[in-house]
């Protein structure tokens, strides 16, 4: 802020002073207005004219949009590109963090959702501990474009269905929801059309699958679902957890199990576990809550 004002409020003209326009305000005032807009809106304002482009790039505007632990997050970003080694503006940092950033050998990704800057995380099937994953009678890894990791775990059939995941991460303070992204049936593309093979789908309507989540600070959540709707990717909501401190590592353990051995189940694609800020709506996904 500050009183750094040069000539504002328009010059005195012959026929009376012309009215103040938004473009007459000093850049610091325009930037103060932009603080109240979301990042995509701020970027749109940059297209108005050169003066607005300047205000729309101001560090103090973008610093307010970055998550509290953005330095930790930037530390995870692979700096394969030379230019990122130099000083990045706060806007460039925000843009960078909005891209999917792989870590842990590409088995996990994090990104900021661009409207509010909330943290999102995805843990691929390759990072999950799946009982029987090495036995090709039960499971195999299937390449597909329908996963951000280009591969999902496909279950043909099994008695003991158990998938466990763990992650330790610094989340910006807030509340988050955890999901498993699942698909009944095997998707494929034939002659440009998407098809879904449901020959192995069975057993999910007999007993529900139990989903569980726990944190290192003793938060617990769980849910149960009968898996339904072959042919669509569905996010099954496991539960929510709260992070109080942006600087503390939070350890999460999450799982889904269906270990009633009186029946087999199969025909399921497991893509990943997903963590979104609570309340975030991903329009393209079907989400199921208990």
């Amino acid at each position: 802020m500050g009183a750094g004002v040069s000539s504002i409020l328009g010059p005195e003209g012959e026929g009376g002073a012309p009215e103040t326009a938004l473009g007459d305000l000093p850049e610091s005032c325009v930037a103060a207005v932009l603080l109240h807009l979301d990042p995509p809106e701020i970027c749109r304002v940059a297209r108005l004219n050169r003066a607005f482009r300047g205000a729309a790039s101001a560090d103090f505007v973008w610093e307010a949009k970055l998550p509290a632990n953005y330095r930790y997050l930037m530390g995870l970003v692979s700096d394969d590109e030379e230019k990122y080694k130099g000083g990045l503006s706060k806007k460039e940092i925000y843009a960078r963090l909005c891209r999917p950033n792989p870590f842990d050998g590409g088995t996990k990704e994090f990104w900021l959702e661009k409207v509010k800057g909330g943290m999102c995380l995805s843990i691929s099937s390759k990072a999950l501990v799946i009982t029987g994953i090495d036995d090709r009678r039960y499971w195999n890894h299937m390449p597909t474009e329908e996963s951000r990791f280009r591969s999902v775990a496909y279950l043909q059939q099994i008695w003991w269905f158990e998938v466990v995941g763990e992650i330790e991460f610094c989340f910006p303070a807030g509340t988050y929801s955890l999901f498993f992204r699942l698909h009944l049936g095997r998707p494929s593309r034939r002659l440009g059309r998407r098809t879904c093979g449901t020959e192995h789908v069975h057993g999910w309507d007999i007993k529900p699958v139990r989903f569980e989540l726990s944190t290192s600070d003793d938060q617990h959540a769980s849910s149960k679902y009968y898996l339904e709707e072959p042919g669509s990717w569905i996010l099954y909501h496991v539960g929510d957890f709260v992070v109080a401190n942006s600087d503390k590592l939070t350890k999460l353990r999450f799982s889904m199990t269906q270990i009633d051995c009186t029946h087999t189940k199969g025909g399921l694609c497991v893509d990943c576990a997903l963590i979104y800020p609570k309340g975030f709506k991903h329009e393209k996904e079907v989400v199921v809550y208990m």
């Binding site: 326009a21 938004l22 000093p26 891209r99």
Partner: protein, 241 residues
């Protein structure tokens, strides 16, 4: 025998004399002591008198200052077109700029704002006055824009006031008020006006904003393309399918 007497007499005389001396000495010492005491008493009385004088002088000058303080509890602010506004110092403290001027002692003869008109200053002063009653908590020291410490009805009164203040302003006046609150460093009013302007920007396309706010597009076509590229990350929709 006579000489013995003489000697005795002499020695007794000497003794007497010496004792007289002693006495004299003693008495003279006593006198001196007395004088000293007197002198000490005198000086201490003088000191007390002195201190009394000092105390009287100090209290009278403090009383003077108090009196002056009573008078100087307001500050006069003048717009660039000569309109004068008199407000309590506690109210004026809501403007960080005025607060600093008062603390530095350069607001004693009033403050003139060369870039704020009377119309705008009137709005700013009414904001400061209203918020002083709610935000200050009576201490006259801290001035903050804080909703958290009030009852619900007070909060509603605050939001109603703010909303009504900006509602009836035309665009130019709103922008002038924004600029003035930035210049005068009135945090709450700056936030209020910025939020109001931001609301008018939301949901509009670039062209719509240009029309609403009379903004000239000074981009040559190549630069316009460059900007569109630069911000594409914020506008694209990512799809997994």
């Amino acid at each position: 025998m006579a000489s013995q007497d003489c000697e005795a007499a002499a020695s007794s005389r000497a003794a007497a004399a010496s004792s007289q001396d002693c006495e004299a000495a003693a008495s003279s010492r006593a006198e001196k002591e007395e004088q000293k005491t007197v002198r000490v008493a005198a000086s201490s009385r003088a000191k007390k008198k002195e201190q009394k004088t000092v105390r009287v002088a100090a209290s009278s000058s403090r009383a003077e200052k108090e009196e002056q303080k009573e008078e100087r509890r307001t500050v006069r602010v003048t717009s660039n077109d000569g309109e004068e506004f008199e407000m309590d110092e506690a109210v004026a403290r809501g403007s960080v700029m005025l607060r600093h001027m008062m603390e530095l002692g350069i607001a004693l003869d009033g403050v003139t704002l060369p870039i704020v008109s009377g119309e705008i200053l009137a709005l700013a002063v009414s904001y400061l006055r209203f918020h002083r009653d709610y935000d200050d908590g009576g201490s006259g020291y801290g001035y903050g824009y804080s909703y958290g410490y009030h009852s619900e009805s007070e909060d509603t009164a605050l939001t109603n006031f703010d909303r009504d203040l900006v509602k009836q302003l035309d665009q130019a006046t709103l922008l002038d008020l924004l600029a003035a609150s930035n210049y005068m460093e009135i945090e709450g009013l700056l936030r209020l006006t910025c939020q109001t302007v931001a609301e008018k920007l939301k949901g509009k396309t670039t062209e719509e904003i240009r029309q609403t706010f009379c903004i000239q597009n000074d981009y040559p076509p190549e630069e316009e393309e460059e900007v569109r590229e630069e911000i594409s990350w914020a506008l694209e929709e990512k799809s997994l399918d």
